[in-house]
């Protein structure tokens, strides 16, 4: 009776399940053994990766006199901490104060993040959902520009801003004529916007092109125009991609030195000022340590609060520089 009650298939299933459970238990023990070594190795790497940062971080809170006479590791036995390095650094005056250069960084980074995103969204939408001849070639061209080193563009772009373009002796574009204007950020905004566009278009296009066709078709059948589709469907759905790129671009502009060196003029952002300070005051570690952490505080806040989007942006393909 009992034997007939048991379906042969379910018997086999039970057998399989037991086998799986057994191998799983076996694997678990094996995995745990092998992964213990792996975890230790990982912890060692993590510690090595963190020590240099930690050292400078501790240094930024030590007394200036102590910094140059004893290693930061002695703070474990003789803790004597202060925040005066930070207040001194903020007011330290080179050509301008570190605090002012921090403000400059903000003034540069906000427009230089929002403007390229808006322009790239428009172009990315057209690349994804408007049919036109030569689309593929144009797209490959824009994509290729991503890798072109901005070094090749710096000098002509700077000359374009200052001298304009002349064909023969006609001044087609007279230039921005800002050389006498100290407080202008126009050149660096425009430069960052241009250099951001290839990657921005590429990332946003990939996301927008992957939106479901059905939604677009349905909207078109309902008589929605491109403008309406862009506003009502694409913009809300593309929010994660926009956030991802915004973070990449924020970090890129905030951390940039090269574009700032060429275009910032009298309004250097904090990265440029730090390099100048490192050149002039190479052994003033109270200044450099506090300055460095003032410079990396903004990216780190963005990084820790929005890590998920940042990773997503990196995964979507980042070959910028």
């Amino acid at each position: 009776m009992i034997a007939t009650d048991i379906d042969p298939r379910s018997a086999r299933r039970v057998e399989k399940a037991t086998l799986r459970a057994e191998t799983a238990a076996f694997n678990d023990s094996k995995k745990r053994l092998s992964s213990k070594g792996a975890t230790i190795a990982a912890v060692v790497i993590a510690v090595i990766w963190t020590i240099p940062t930690f050292g400078l971080f501790v240094t930024s809170f030590r007394q200036p006199a102590d910094i140059n006479t004893s290693g930061w590791w002695t703070f474990f036995t003789h803790p004597d901490l202060t925040i005066s390095n930070y207040t001194n650094t903020l007011n330290f005056n080179d050509t301008l104060t570190v605090g002012q250069s921090f403000v400059n960084s903000l003034v540069i980074v906000i427009p230089a993040t929002l403007i390229p995103i808006s322009l790239a969204l428009l172009a990315a939408y057209a690349f994804a959902w408007v049919e036109f001849r030569g689309k593929n070639i144009l797209f490959v061209g824009v994509f290729s520009l991503q890798v072109v080193p901005i070094q090749v563009a710096l000098v002509p772009l700077l000359l374009l801003f200052s001298n304009g373009v002349t064909i023969g002796h006609w001044a087609v574009f007279p230039g921005l004529n800002l050389s006498g204007t100290d407080g202008s950020f126009a050149r660096i905004w425009i430069a960052h916007t241009i250099f951001a566009l290839p990657l921005a278009i590429f990332l946003l296009h990939n996301f927008i092109a992957a939106l479901p066709v059905d939604i677009m078709e349905a909207a078109k059948i309902d008589g929605a125009s491109h403008g309406q589709i862009f506003f009502r469907i694409v913009l809300p759905l593309a929010r994660p991609a926009i956030a991802s790129f915004a973070i990449l671009q924020f970090l890129w502009v905030w951390n940039d030195l090269l574009v700032a060196t060429i275009f910032a003029g009298n309004n250097p952002p904090i990265t440029k000022l730090l390099v100048d300070l490192a050149g002039t005051y190479g052994q003033q570690w109270y200044l450099l340590s506090a300055g460095t952490f003032l410079a990396i505080i903004a990216p780190l806040i963005v990084f820790f609060s929005l890590q998920r989007y940042f990773v997503r942006g990196l995964l979507a393909g980042a070959t910028k520089g």
């Binding site: 792996a38 036109f132 072109v148 000098v155 002509p156 951390n255 393909g317």
Partner: protein, 381 residues
């Protein structure tokens, strides 16, 4: 436009942010407004399209600020716009569709053409002209920058060392770390430690490591020298010791790039079907064999992407040299030489462009590879 920017420059820095954003917002709003009404049928809309097609190019030319002797450009732009309007009437997608497309694409494409394509061509041309651009000098600029007296060969050699070593080590450590922490307890926390340097600027990273490598007479405050001392050695002035200093500078870039490699590779590893690993395990494959025969083949495309990305970053490295050695003690690289030459007074446009062209040639293989890949993807091959 110049007048606007000059007025803007007079405002306090923080006040400039909202003003420029509002000004930019108005422009985008106008574009979207036009996009919305362009494809509508009816005489009124047709007239609107005609006006926009003629007026916008003319206004752009005026806003750019043509000089008196180039005012003829304004009617030329207007006529071109009118031609566009006529073409648009017979566009395949219906009236207005072409203008609409241009409204979407033109701002980005124009900026790219002016800001990347034109400068690229201009740089290649000026690389073959004298520094003041007055006469053609053939390859003299290239032989000048590569001459031994100008550190050119050293910079080129260093650049090649950077681009070979950095991607290999950063990818290797990133991959190892991704495998080590995979499915382990505290995976997320462990990842943050290695990933964090990705958010730190090269300038910040350089100063962090400059302190780490610091050399002093007497008591050491740099950890690396202190470790040497603890082991009974003599402290070394690391960044002035060639060729060791190059390796130590490369460490800085590896430190920032490993996290990037790790995150991408880790995501790829998680994409490998669990069954493949289980099957290999049942066949008696040990951890190393599974890694070589299951994991690595499964993530090969990602490894290539990571490798290429880091190679490109290492070719463009400028910040690390600028923030540490300023190219002294044989540490210069091409992109640093390029800026250095340009910052001479007067700017050495010709030789500086030659450096930029060298850099572009080094990057060209990666560009072609990437472009080919994306083209194949687009065509569905």
């Amino acid at each position: 436009m110049t007048a606007f920017f000059q007025w803007l420059a007079g405002l306090p820095p923080l006040a400039q942010i909202p003003v420029i954003l509002v000004a930019f917002g108005v422009v985008v709003a106008l574009i979207l407004f036009f996009v919305e009404f362009a494809p509508r049928a009816g005489r009124g809309y047709t007239i609107m399209r005609l006006v926009v097609a003629i007026a916008v190019p003319a206004i752009i030319v005026l806003v750019l600020g043509v000089y008196n002797d180039a005012v003829w450009l304004v009617p030329v732009a207007a006529v071109l716009g009118a031609g566009l309007f006529l073409l648009d009437l017979r566009a395949r997608g219906g009236k207005g569709s072409m203008l609409q497309l241009i409204a979407f694409m033109a701002p980005a494409v124009l900026l790219l053409a002016i800001g990347l394509l034109y400068p690229l061509i201009k740089t290649v041309i000026s690389a073959f002209f004298s520094n003041d651009g007055s006469k053609f000098v053939g390859i003299a600029n290239f032989s000048y920058v590569l001459a031994p007296a100008n550190q050119g060969l050293i910079a080129l050699g260093n650049q090649i060392i950077w681009v070979i070593i950095t991607p290999i080590i950063a990818t290797a450590i990133g991959l190892a770390y991704a495998v080590f922490v995979d499915k382990s307890r505290g995976e997320k926390v462990l990842k943050v430690f290695v990933f964090m340097p990705v958010a730190i600027s090269f300038v910040g990273a350089s100063i962090i490591f400059k302190f780490f490598y610091d050399y002093q007479q007497g008591t050491q405050i740099g950890l690396l020298n202190q470790i040497v001392v603890w082991f009974g050695g003599q402290p070394v002035n690391w960044l002035q010791t060639s060729p060791l200093n190059i390796a130590l500078l490369i460490v800085i870039l590896i430190w920032t790039q490993t996290g990037f490699a790790m995150v991408l590779l880790s995501a790829a590893i998680k994409g490998i079907p669990e069954e493949q690993n289980e099957a290999a395990e049942l066949d008696g494959a040990n951890a190393w064999a599974r890694f070589r025969n299951v994991t690595v083949p499964g993530i090969r495309p990602t490894i290539i992407v990571v490798w290429i990305t880091i190679a490109i970053v290492s070719l463009k490295v400028y910040d690390i040299i600028a923030a540490t050695t300023q190219g002294q003690n044989n540490t210069s690289v091409i992109s640093f030489q390029m800026v250095r030459l340009f910052e001479n007074l007067p700017p050495q446009t010709g030789t500086s462009s030659a450096e930029a062209v060298l850099l572009f040639i080094l990057i060209l293989p990666f560009l072609i590879y990437n472009a080919n890949n994306i083209r194949k993807q687009r065509l569905g091959l």
